[in-house]
């Protein structure tokens, strides 16, 4: 922890099959020193297999994995220094919190005095000094998570691997730990790969997200990029884009929706013709009739407290979902004639 050692990770054409099932199909990516990369996808998309390959528990059939340029493919797991935060924490039940955290240091034969100092430091880092003598069974979920984190970072790993790090926590605790985990990772400057099926977690915790589908990377980009500009139907659906609307792409940045031309959309991989347009509900505003791009009628109103959600039927019988921060003016009522305006820069034309 004294000297953050950031490594660069390269995954080069890694593939792994279990019998006839291809878990990972030729995945290549690089994680820069200090960067957090999230592997996002549903279960069975290969993200866990990839993480286990980095940790050394799974041997890829093809490809190479390099840390700072040197292949670690034949390095056994115990020599890789890739500290993993396991989904169920995997704390040793027969050891105290202190002994759990000290395990990696004992394996590395760190001298006793120095080990004791580093354990204290790690305990303080995750604020569990007062729990040092407890057994894992006597801890709450959040406390176990902290112990697991301390145990992982105390060894000064070259790489931090997070396997659904917050999946076992309840919602409040999860948000609290998200912040803490992010701060800790920043302070330590650890190159990190995390695996999650929760897009919000990926957005909050990572610098870059690789969305995976059936063993391949479907799209890789910054959290905002993935959030605002999904390139495929799969990414749009998986990241929870509410509006997937049939439209017509005219090339460049022009798309036609419900008879109206919208200029300035993102269309990286689409061919002119019939396409699907992906727009998040918060990228649309509801305006009085005549002021927006497309005319429509309010079909449904739902109060969400801080925000309000509308379903607006637009001319062609299509319905778009709109989420707006609640303003001082009263919300539009059911059946009201309105118009909607799309933030064109946040509309994406999906590759067909």
């Amino acid at each position: 922890m004294s000297t953050p050692s950031s490594s660069r990770l390269e995954i080069d054409g890694v593939a792994k099959a279990y019998g006839a099932v291809k878990a990972v199909e030729s995945v290549s990516l690089a994680v820069e020193p200090g960067e957090v990369l999230a592997l996002l996808g549903p279960s069975g998309c290969g993200k866990t297999t990839l993480l286990q390959s980095i940790a050394g528990f799974v041997v890829p059939d093809a490809g190479d994995i390099r840390l700072d340029g040197a292949s670690i493919l034949v390095t056994p797991p115990e020599k890789r220094r890739t500290a993993m935060l396991f989904q169920q924490y995997a704390l040793f039940p027969h050891m105290s919190v202190r002994d759990n955290i000290g395990f990696g240091l004992r394996m590395a034969r760190v001298p006793k005095v120095e080990a004791a100092r580093r354990i204290e430091q790690a305990l303080a880092l995750v604020r569990i000094t007062q729990l040092a003598e407890r057994r894992p069974a006597q801890l709450s979920g959040g406390q176990r998570q902290r112990v697991a984190l301390a145990r992982a970072v105390v060894t000064e790993p070259r790489l931090l691997l997070l396997d659904e790090p917050l999946g076992a926590l309840d919602q409040n605790l999860r948000e609290e730990m998200q912040v803490e985990l992010r701060k800790l990772q920043r302070n330590l400057g650890l190159t990190t790969v995390m695996v999650t099926h929760d897009q919000r977690e990926a957005i909050v915790l990572s610098d870059r997200i690789a969305v995976m589908k059936e063993g391949r990377i479907e799209q890789i980009g910054t959290p905002l990029d993935i959030h605002d500009h999904p390139r495929t139907h799969y990414v749009a659906t998986f990241t929870g884009v509410e509006n997937l609307l049939p439209g017509r792409f005219h090339g460049e940045d022009v798309v036609e929706l419900a008879g109206q031309r919208i200029v300035g959309v993102q269309a990286s991989a689409a061919k002119p013709g019939a396409v699907t347009l992906a727009i998040r509900s918060e990228a649309i505003t509801v305006l009085p009739p005549g002021q927006g791009d497309i005319e429509g009628t309010i079909g449904f109103v739902q109060m969400l407290g801080a925000s309000v959600r509308y379903e607006v039927a637009i001319a062609t019988g299509l319905t778009v979902t709109v989420t707006e921060v609640r303003r001082d003016a009263p919300p539009f009522e059911l059946g009201a004639a309105v118009s909607i305006r799309l933030a064109a820069s946040r509309c994406s034309v999906l590759a067909s």
């Binding site: 528990f57 890739t82 993993m84 396991f86 995997a90 039940p93 990696g104 069974a137």
Partner: protein, 284 residues
């Protein structure tokens, strides 16, 4: 106690009472005296059988042989059974697991006498092994009517119990813990010694005590494969009845045997509790 509780306990109480009555009548027979030259025994109650037994060199030798053989079998069980149970609990190959399970269950299901004969066929003077030895010009090995034959056959009898008991315990240890140990820099061996082994100790204690208790009581295999030369407690009791119709003396020996087993179970139970507190983090 509600009426339902009492009703539910009734069958168990009946069985326990029956068991108690049998034991008590057994114990009372051990206090009788045999009429010399007949099979008739009578009171008044006396400890004569016990004093005779405690002074008898043969009885003590049987006790020691029984304990020694049981200990040997238990040690062998751990050596052979632990790796087998581990493979069974951890192997990703379903077919391998199936083969092992099938072999274990097949041993379970084939009767004791069948297996004893099988061992006679394998180990006998004209048995498979000796035929093989002769075929390559080696002298005949004495594999039967000795302790070796008894240990091998009893091991075959208790190993499935041991493996299946330990298998159950090993399965409850998440593989992730072993991964965590490796991930933190422990070699395969180190991960086993510091994580898997300590966590499996309660299960290991259960499996070894079961194995030891079964070996203590084994009768058929020592009788059939020991050829009258291996005297364990169970065969000694049998001999007293078969050879001299001395039922009171046999009962006394059986009572002593019973006490011995109780003592062993108490010792093992104590050890188990110690192990559970030390390693599992909570009293089991």
């Amino acid at each position: 106690m509600s009426r339902a509780t009492i009703l539910l306990m009734l069958p168990a109480l009946l069985v326990l009472t029956l068991f108690g009555v049998v034991l008590a009548s057994f114990a009372s027979v051990s206090l009788m005296v045999l009429d010399p030259g007949s099979a008739v025994f009578h009171g008044p109650p006396t400890l004569a059988n016990y004093t005779r037994l405690l002074g008898s060199e043969g009885a003590w030798r049987a006790v020691l042989t029984t304990l020694r053989l049981s200990a040997e079998i238990t040690v062998l069980c751990v050596l052979f059974g632990y790796p087998l149970a581990r493979v069974l609990a951890r192997s990703h190959s379903r077919s391998l697991r199936r083969v092992i399970l099938f072999c274990l269950v097949a041993t379970f299901l084939s009767g004791g006498v069948t297996r004893a004969y099988a061992w006679l066929i394998i180990l006998g003077n004209q048995g498979l092994i000796n035929q093989g030895l002769r075929a390559v010009g080696l002298p005949r090995a004495a594999l039967i009517n000795n302790e070796f034959a008894v240990v091998v056959s009893v091991l075959n009898f208790v190993l499935p119990f041991f493996v299946l008991t330990l298998f159950g315990a090993l399965r409850t240890i998440p593989e992730q813990l072993e991964h965590a140990a490796r991930n933190l820099g422990a070699s395969r061996l180190r991960s086993f010694v510091s994580v898997t082994l300590p966590l499996s100790l309660p299960g290991l204690a259960a499996a070894t005590s079961l194995c030891f208790a079964l070996s203590l009581g084994a009768f058929l295999f020592p009788q059939m494969l020991g050829g009258g030369r291996v005297h364990v407690l169970a065969t000694a009791i049998y001999d007293r009845i078969q050879a001299s119709y001395d039922i009171p003396s046999a009962a006394a020996l059986a009572v002593l045997f019973f006490l011995l087993v109780l003592l062993m179970l108490a010792v093992v139970g104590g050890l188990r509790r110690l192990v559970a507190v030390r390693f599992a983090g909570e009293a089991a």
